[in-house]
Symmetry: C2
Subunit: 119 residues, 2 copies
């Protein structure tokens, strides 16, 4: 496995694994109403276009996992223009997790930045 | 899985997965000589004491994985005070990966911070 691309992809994938959960929880924490996958993706794209690190397809398993953990809840609604859509909303436990995870993120970010600065 | 601790642990574990590789590569990139696991852990502890997110035991599989990717190389040397120690040093490919991964980290960090600010 001496291909640099392969090691880089592994690194990016691992780095994203936790981040996707935090990002999705945050976007749903700010949503005024239940939101489906494509709307979440559009919201994230307004922050950064053509973002290689956040592919829409990667959202769905994470949304399901957050729901299994009780941090989101969802309902399926028919759509006039295609297949039914699953709408997600954050739960009370989700808002509490978002607060804790934001702190965990900030501590982790500061730690990594300190290491990279060689302090 | 409605236990908050369990969801928090999963988040922290996922968040750490990529970060440990970057941190280890960075510490070895700054080392003047081949370094073994306990020395790396001590170096990291100088940045933050009692760091819950970086357990020394978590380093070893990551060091092996980085070596398998050709980013580190190692030799085993006898120790006067205990079992033989495996000393790691960064390779040329490792230095190149460290540069690319630092950029990936900075982009990812800025993206997450933008999302958290609600921009």
């Amino acid at each position: 496995m001496n291909d640099p691309n392969s090691a880089d992809k592994k690194f990016q994938k691992e780095l994203n694994a936790g981040i996707v959960s935090l990002v999705l929880l945050n976007v749903l924490g700010r949503a005024d109403e239940p939101t489906y996958g494509y709307q979440i993706a559009r919201e994230i794209e307004t922050v950064r276009e053509n973002l290689p690190i956040m592919k829409q397809g990667a959202f769905y398993p994470v949304l399901r996992s957050l729901e299994n953990s009780g941090l989101l809840e969802s309902t399926v609604e028919p759509s006039v223009s295609g297949p039914p859509r699953r709408y997600y909303r954050i739960t009370g436990a989700g808002r509490e997790a978002l607060e804790r995870w934001t702190t965990i993120w900030q501590e982790t970010r500061n730690f990594v930045d300190s290491i990279l600065k060689g302090i």
